[in-house]
């Protein structure tokens, strides 16, 4: 595939890419720390993945194979648009297969299939500041990060436990990176949090509106916040996938009619399709 004429490779100009690349390197050197960057206006609105797109544009090369997922799915509007954007502006090959991709840009999921050392996972992040719900002032949260002053978050988890008997955060569950920085993993389900820990692939996070880039290097310890007597636990819908019968994947609930009909299917469409190709069949078959 060839790129449309009139664009620089991957849309951004070279000056902008260098600025983003410098920020990415500092982010990798300080795991979990939010590095400010001069986020550009992109040809799609904030909230549609402008941060992830800018990181992808700075990293992407002509030999890369790009996969884009939105809530695990390759075929939703956001994923299709971003994949087409880079196919047009960079002429790169795209894929829906996790194993075939060298760069995976994601909105709010980590693929079920374990990623390899030669892959890079790039997250779209709406709110990079994990303390934003507890402390509105960015000047103050910067100081809290500087001092590693994260007691407020532990109090929030504690209050959840006293009121609900459990931590009531089901997505964007805060993590400690390398034992130093409290970090938002972006709104991935808490189900995906264990995959962050010691992942073989490099993980980059881009927040376009909030103008922050951060990173988790490969094999880095990422611990979901918890207490000794209330250890972190993941949850998933207690069902099997209706299409591929998987009993360990993260499931989406789909309403099928107006009489209470519903079914549960894998949120990771590539994982589900690969299983079905391999002969697995659920209740729908």
């Amino acid at each position: 595939m060839t790129a449309d004429a009139g664009y620089n490779f991957a849309y951004l100009d070279e000056q902008t890419k260098r600025m983003i690349r410098r920020a990415i390197l500092k982010a990798v050197a300080i795991p979990g720390h939010q590095v400010p960057f001069a986020s550009r206006e992109m040809p799609l609105p904030y909230g549609w993945g402008t941060g992830g797109i800018q990181v992808t544009a700075a990293v992407l090369g002509p030999e890369d194979v790009l996969k884009v997922i939105d809530q695990g799915a390759d075929d939703t509007t956001n994923a299709v648009s971003i994949r087409r954007f880079f196919a047009r502006t960079a002429g790169v090959a795209t894929t829906t297969h996790t194993a075939d991709a060298s760069i995976i840009q994601t909105r709010h999921r980590i693929p079920e299939q374990a990623l390899r050392a030669d892959q890079i996972l790039i997250y779209q992040v709406p709110q990079p500041e994990p303390l934003s719900g507890l402390e509105p002032s960015r000047a103050e949260t910067r100081r809290m990060h500087a001092l590693s002053e994260y007691g407020a978050m532990s109090v929030k988890l504690y209050e959840d436990i006293t009121r609900f008997g459990q931590v009531s955060i089901s997505y964007d569950y805060p993590v400690m990176v390398g034992g130093r920085y409290l970090m938002s993993p972006s709104p991935i389900p808490a189900f995906d949090n264990p995959k962050l820990d010691r992942m073989a692939a490099l993980q980059l996070f881009g927040a376009g509106r909030e103008k922050r880039i951060y990173a988790i290097p490969p094999h880095t310890e990422v611990r979901s916040l918890d207490f000794d007597d209330h250890p972190f636990r993941t949850t998933r819908a207690p069902h099997r996938c209706h299409l591929c019968d998987a009993d360990g994947s993260y499931l989406d609930e789909i309403v099928t009619d107006d009489r209470g009909g519903r079914m549960f299917v894998c949120s990771d469409t590539d994982y589900c399709a690969t299983r079905r190709d391999g002969g697995h069949a659920g209740g729908a078959a």
Partner: protein
Amino acid sequence: MLVDLPGFADPVRDAQACFRTVLAAMARPGTVHQAGEHLAPPAGLHRATAAVLLTLVDGETSLHVTDGFEVARDWIGFHCDMRAATAGHARFVLAERMVDLAALAAGSDEAPEESATLILQLPELQTGTSYLLDGPGLAHPAPFRARGLGEGFVAAWAANRARFPCGVDLILCSGTQVAALPRSLRITEG
């Protein structure tokens, strides 16, 4: 004029390829990668060093070139649109001998990213003194060899590591080889 020597033949692709090399080196400390094979930099500048400079330095950041690059200075100034700064303030420092890490910008606790990246040109990588690396990016402690980091390097690095999250990051270049030592690393003589 030395600025007659070209930079990247294809600035877009070559810079991207070199960045991915540096990114891989920074994400996996101590691993050695290739960069700048097709460059023809002026005397005194190795090809990998030239590639890293062309990829990361421009007029929006600052560079301090230490003594020893007199021949290459004009080339760097021209191709990197170099904005010079003193060693203590520059975001990038180019050197061919180990410099005092404590004298370079280390950032602040609130903005540790406002720190220097030392681009250190060494006579040889993968030979010379043995070190053992451990930290983010490494599944297990990994051996690393380099010639020219100097006698007191392990102690100087320990002091650099003790300032984490502040500190200096190193990009090591030799010939067409690149490796990186981010500040998060623990280094012992191995």
